[in-house]
């Protein structure tokens, strides 16, 4: 599927592919998916959950016989990445929930990924073993030591095929560098360093060094009483290893250049949109808080998600975004209720497609939204078990704001705010998307003609 070809066709149609996870009755809170990420080729899809587990799905090879059937994603490896910990000094429990997973680009047969909870980042190596050595001299087949007196001949051990085994091993543990909760990790394009960001600080790590990190951003005020802003997300530029951005709870984005100084407290660029006076309310700051920031694949744009909108910014223009998309503006009049039930603090993520032409983000009621930047068309789809027949085409959904509700529409007051799509991922080169709905992972792909 050539990225970009969809712009020549009519509205893309999305079909159900697969759903992973238990049906509601068996679900526990530990099963709630907290992060989703494709690797750089799209061959692997990783999820992290509240219970600290990582599940990796692998796309099966497309069979030559069934050209029209896209490869399915099946479980490749499951492992416990983080365990609950107790900080005895502060009498605090550290949650094992996986906040983010980031893949490293593949450099050999093994796969590497970073996974993080609130305090500790870990580098995992996922590798296959499909051969095992047989014919040891000093050990028998069960591994027991042989009595040297019984050995009369010597042989060379040989590698024999075995059932494929996928093993995940923790190769590095990057701990004790964050006082506050880690919200982001980002692998640098130099493939040697990565950064981890918490509420007030950003640290730069070298993959090889676990007992030391460099602090590159620190916004902790001298007096905590002056604290009015926290860091909400951070990401490295996809090509320029010296550049990164971080977003704040006040709706601003700062772009920093690490060549300018060791501590990047002074930004190179500052992106902020002036407040719209007609939309001002007590909740203005909360809804302007940015929950996610992502560079486009090209590196020319950044996309930010705040409570009600997704914005695209040109790196060369700091005073306002070039595009603003309304995700669920019908919630603007409900902000008081959403403040009351804390939904206003939900952190939605956003993603680009491979060609940077379409952006996607989640909403409530298991709805998610896609915006085509070229045609300016948008669509609302739903991740639900009801639309789960193989290759069933997803029907666009619509929220009715007031007045007469049409047959297929749903009214704002009927939306289920406990069903939120916070995490989504888009295959790097194909129109395959992964949508996390509480404890279920949905995989959708566009219709193959």
């Amino acid at each position: 599927m050539i990225p970009g070809i969809e712009t020549l066709t009519q509205d893309r149609l999305w079909c159900f592919g697969q759903v992973k996870g238990t049906i509601e009755i068996g679900a526990t809170e530990a099963d709630i998916i907290s992060t989703v990420e494709f690797n750089h080729t799209g061959e692997l899809l990783a999820t992290g959950d509240k219970g600290g587990r990582v599940v990796i799905f692998q796309r099966e090879q497309e069979s030559k016989n069934q050209v029209h059937r896209r490869g399915e994603y099946n479980v490749y490896s499951t492992f416990q990445s983080h365990e609950p910990e107790f900080d005895y000094l502060k009498s605090l429990e550290i949650e094992e929930k996986i906040n983010k997973i980031r893949w490293l680009p593949q450099q050999n047969a093994a796969y590497f990924l970073l996974s993080t909870n609130d305090k500790t980042v870990k580098l995992w190596k996922v590798s296959e073993r499909d051969k095992r050595p047989e014919g040891y001299n000093l050990k028998d087949e069960e591994g027991r030591l042989r009595d040297p007196a019984t050995i009369t001949t010597l042989r060379v051990p040989v590698l024999r095929p075995m059932d494929l085994m996928v093993e995940a091993t923790p190769r590095r543990v990057f701990a004790n560098a964050h006082t506050y909760h880690i919200n982001s990790i980002s692998v640098n394009s130099d493939y040697e360093t990565y950064m981890s960001a918490d509420d007030l600080r950003i640290n730069l790590w070298n993959f090889e060094i676990t007992n030391q990190s460099f602090n590159i951003v620190d916004i902790k005020p001298a007096n905590m009483e002056e604290l009015t802003e926290v860091i909400t997300a951070a990401e490295f530029h996809p090509h320029h290893c010296n550049t990164f951005v971080y977003s704040s709870s006040k709706g601003t984005i700062r772009l920093c250049d690490m060549r300018a100084s060791a501590l990047c407290d002074r930004h190179t660029k500052f992106f902020e949109e002036p407040e719209d006076p007609s939309n001002r309310s007590f909740f203005s700051e909360i809804i302007s808080s940015i929950s996610d920031v992502k560079f486009s694949h090209s590196g020319r744009y950044i996309m930010t998600r705040d409570y009600l909108t997704v914005k695209v910014w040109d790196l060369n223009m700091e005073n306002r975004p070039i595009e603003t998309y309304q995700v669920h503006d019908y919630l603007r009049s409900k902000l008081c209720s959403l403040y009351e039930n804390d939904c206003i603090f939900d952190k939605f993520e956003c993603v680009w497609n491979g060609s940077d032409s379409v952006i996607m983000t989640g909403s409530y009621n298991n709805f998610f939204r896609m915006f085509d930047r070229n045609t300016k068309r948008d669509v609302t789809l739903e991740a639900s078990r009801e639309n789960s027949k193989p290759r069933a085409i997803l029907k666009p959904r619509k929220v009715c704001v007031g007045g007469k509700r049409r047959k297929d529409e749903i009214s704002v007051d009927s939306l289920d705010f406990s069903k939120k799509i916070l995490h989504t991922a888009w295959h790097p080169s194909e129109n395959i998307i992964a949508v996390a709905a509480t404890n279920n992972l949905y995989i959708f792909q566009d219709k193959v003609n």
Binding site: N176, S213, M224, T228, S249, F282, S333
Partner: protein
């Protein structure tokens, strides 16, 4: 999240006045849509200020507060508080020309009190995190409400000081505000009101919730002070 409701005894007149005040403040609501959608499991308090204070309290109760949530709630609370100041000038006792000025003082001191308490709580957070050096601010304030040596022993944060002389205003003026419900300012975030401040008749029903919270807050303060003693310098990760 479920918030515990604040029980308040209110007289009808005050309720009306507060509703009027709220109406003035509701410019932020979109006129086309219902102001507040039918809310999920109820929060008893009716004003945004109370809700925010509850959220702040709830957030601080967590073993490790979500800093983003905390900062956003505090900032929102400051905004709400800032907008409430003009409405309090509505004199409860219109016949006394001095009344608006006194009301200003009341709110100014509570504003300072709120800022001070929020400041101290954020300061406490930094103590927990072990990265702030001076224990003095905490020691000076002490467990909330308990007097520490030097400063005037009964100087709760809501005691009114005459700006000119720095002396406590006499009880005669306190009597002016007896019919005003000050329970929202008596929240346990800051010093429990001294006996003379809380209007007598309203002492009853409001006590249960604040009493419970005060115990918990004292416990929290003890833990903070105790935790502080155990702290060590930051680990090798920095």
């Amino acid at each position: 999240m479920l918030s515990k409701g604040l029980k308040r005894k209110r007289e009808e007149e005050e309720e009306q006045q507060e509703e009027e005040a709220l109406a003035v403040d509701t410019w932020w609501l979109d006129s086309d849509h219902p102001a507040v959608a039918p809310a999920p499991p109820a929060v008893a308090s009716s004003s945004l200020f109370d809700l925010s204070v509850l959220k702040l309290h709830h957030s601080l109760r967590q073993s490790e507060p979500d800093l983003r949530h905390l900062v956003l709630v505090v900032n929102t609370l400051r905004r709400i508080q800032a907008s409430m100041v003009p409405t309090a000038v509505l004199p409860p006792v219109p016949s006394l020309p001095a009344a608006p000025g006194m009301a200003d003082n009341l709110l100014a001191s509570s504003d300072a009190a709120l800022s001070a308490s929020m400041a101290s709580l954020l300061e406490d957070l930094s103590h927990i995190e072990g990265l702030s050096q001076a224990p003095q601010p905490l020691a000076e304030e002490g467990p909330q409400g308990r007097p520490i040596g030097g400063p005037p022993p009964s100087l709760g944060s809501l005691d009114l000081l005459d700006p000119a002389t720095g002396c406590l205003l006499d009880d005669g003026l306190e009597g002016l505000f007896e019919d005003i419900d000050t329970s929202m300012y008596d929240s346990d975030l800051w010093a429990p009101a001294s006996e003379g401040l809380k209007p007598g008749p309203e002492g009853g029903p409001g006590e249960d919730a604040p009493e419970l919270k005060e115990t918990e807050l004292d416990y929290l303060m003890d833990v903070l002070v105790g935790t502080q003693a155990l702290e060590r310098p930051p680990g090798p990760g920095r």
